[in-house]
């Protein structure tokens, strides 16, 4: 009986009801926070570490990224008479060391995070899928 005589007006319940009603009516800073993923996407931050990209003109094929990769994800392969890295996304831990060590700043990581695939072979991203041409601004 003691707990009801203190709370005979049910003020705690009423306060709670008001809080939940504020959420229902979006009073104050209470927006709907769900992102409807396949239809709308969250904006990733600029430093997000997603799929790699390699500058076709800057890369010198030196292999420092290959040496520094902790999971031996990167291999240097020949592509169109030059040497470029090939990344096995299945083993990559997205640490970003390859980007840090690149002497020419040719390697970067994009915001692409939808990398699920059906076969292990298709997880190996060769230069044909990694290279991009930087627009040279003179």
């Amino acid at each position: 009986m003691a707990w009801i005589s203190k709370n005979w007006a049910m003020s705690g319940i009423i306060a709670g009801l008001i809080v939940t009603l504020k959420h229902v009516l979006h009073i104050g800073n209470r927006p709907t926070v769900t992102v409807q993923y396949p239809y709308e996407r969250m904006k990733v931050s600029p430093r997000f570490r997603g799929l790699h990209a390699v500058d076709e003109n800057a890369c010198i094929g030196c292999g420092i990224c290959e040496i520094n990769c902790p999971n031996s994800t990167i291999q240097i392969v020949k592509y169109n008479t030059k040497w470029y890295p090939q990344v096995n996304i299945g083993m990559c831990l997205f640490c970003g060391l390859c980007v840090d060590v690149c002497p020419m700043n040719a390697m970067k990581m994009t915001g692409n995070y939808e990398l699920a695939d059906y076969t292990r072979e298709s997880l190996v991203y060769g230069p044909d899928r990694l290279l991009f041409n930087k627009e040279v601004k003179q």
């Binding site: 939940t20 229902v24 709907t32 926070v33």
Partner: protein, 366 residues
């Protein structure tokens, strides 16, 4: 004056000049009762479809309200704003395997969902959805409703016992204890209303609330019986077994309570019965305390339609309150539940009844 849905159907058929020829055909065959039976079956089919559609809508609404409280969207993909989600849930549940545990009592295990489901539909028979939109205006309507809803603890106990599972049995025991403790304040709060109207008929109760004080404030019994309204609302939420009092299926303690072992369509029947019960109880609250289908009369629109709209608006307001409460408060303990029921609600209901009876006898309230 059209008294019930049967007469309404006859009236509509007469309006389209169909009833007389039909009646003549059946009278020529000497089987006038067949026409009556057909009309009654049509009413019941309409009621059944209406209740099932409402129940489907309520499952959607429940998920939406929970989502809104939790700053989410809820179902959005199936249909516009996820409105077809209940249909997909139904298809999924029909496709599920119908499991009967090896050590269960097969006959009772199969029977229990039906015994839960059928009273949940029978409750709607004396419930006035609007002016003359009532299947049958029983003179003991309120007693009938309380008696019919008292069947469900038996079915719950059957389900819990037949499952041969400790969680099911515990859930069933708790549900029965809870239902029995809360039916008493529920009935006592309803009797106070009966004292005011002098009738158990739901239509008479609604008609008694038809007027207005000073032409503005509607003469709803919530204003005469505020304590009775609160007691009835709490007791009916407890009887439904919704969240502040959901001991029958407390997920964190018993897996799912008495329907732990149920799957497929049998589970769906418990689920449908729960939401049909929610709709019925909200309708009863509206009928007893919130003026039922009464409301301002609009010109050019048949009173049957406006009254149905008023009834549904009020009912959905009560349903929204129940859902809102469900999303706000946590579950109380079982001892708190029984303390609240027996030590507080029953004495308060008796007090309410005493004061009401005194005032009615003294001629203050009529």
């Amino acid at each position: 004056m059209i008294a019930n849905a049967y007469e309404l159907i006859v009236y509509i058929l007469t309006l389209f000049r169909v009833y007389e020829p039909l009646l003549n055909v059946f009278q020529a065959l000497g089987a006038e009762y067949v026409l009556r039976i057909i009309i009654v079956l049509v009413e019941i089919a309409v009621l059944f479809v209406f209740v099932l559609l409402t129940v489907m809508f309520l499952t959607w609404m429940e998920r939406k309200v929970v989502a809104m409280v939790q700053s989410r969207y809820g179902p959005m993909v199936t249909g516009p704003r996820g409105l077809l989600q209940p249909v997909m849930d139904g298809v999924k549940l029909i496709g599920k395997e119908d499991i009967i545990p090896a050590k269960a009592d097969r006959w009772i295990f199969t029977l229990a969902p039906f015994i839960v489901f059928i009273p949940a539909l029978l409750v709607f028979i004396p419930l006035p959805f609007g002016e003359s939109l009532i299947i049958s205006d029983l003179r003991v309507g309120l007693l009938y409703i309380i008696a019919i809803s008292a069947i469900s603890p038996i079915a719950i106990l059957l389900a819990g016992w037949a499952s041969n599972n400790k969680y099911s049995l515990m859930g069933a025991m708790r549900a029965v204890a809870q239902d029995i403790s809360y039916t008493i304040p529920l009935a006592l709060a309803a009797i106070a209303v009966v004292l005011l109207t002098g009738s158990l008929s739901m239509v008479d109760i609604v008609n008694a609330q038809g007027g207005a004080w000073f032409g503005v404030i509607p003469q709803w019994f919530i204003f005469i019986q505020p304590l009775g309204f609160i007691l009835f609302l709490i007791a009916s939420i407890a009887e439904m077994g919704r969240i502040p009092f959901d001991f029958q299926e407390s997920e964190s303690e018993l897996v799912a309570g008495f329907f732990t072992e149920y799957s497929g369509m049998k589970f769906a029947m418990f689920f449908l019965a729960e939401y049909a019960h929610l709709f019925a109880v909200s309708g009863i609250v509206v009928t007893l305390f919130l003026g039922g289908w009464t409301g301002p009369v609009l010109p050019f629109i048949p009173v049957q339609i406006t009254s149905l709209v008023y009834f549904l608006i009020k009912t959905y307001a009560v349903i929204f309150f129940a859902m809102w409460l469900r999303d706000t408060v946590p579950r109380v303990r079982i001892d708190q539940l029984l303390n609240l029921g027996w030590k507080i609600m029953v004495p308060l209901a008796l007090l309410n009844l005493l004061v009401t009876g005194f005032l009615v006898t003294a001629g203050v309230m009529v």
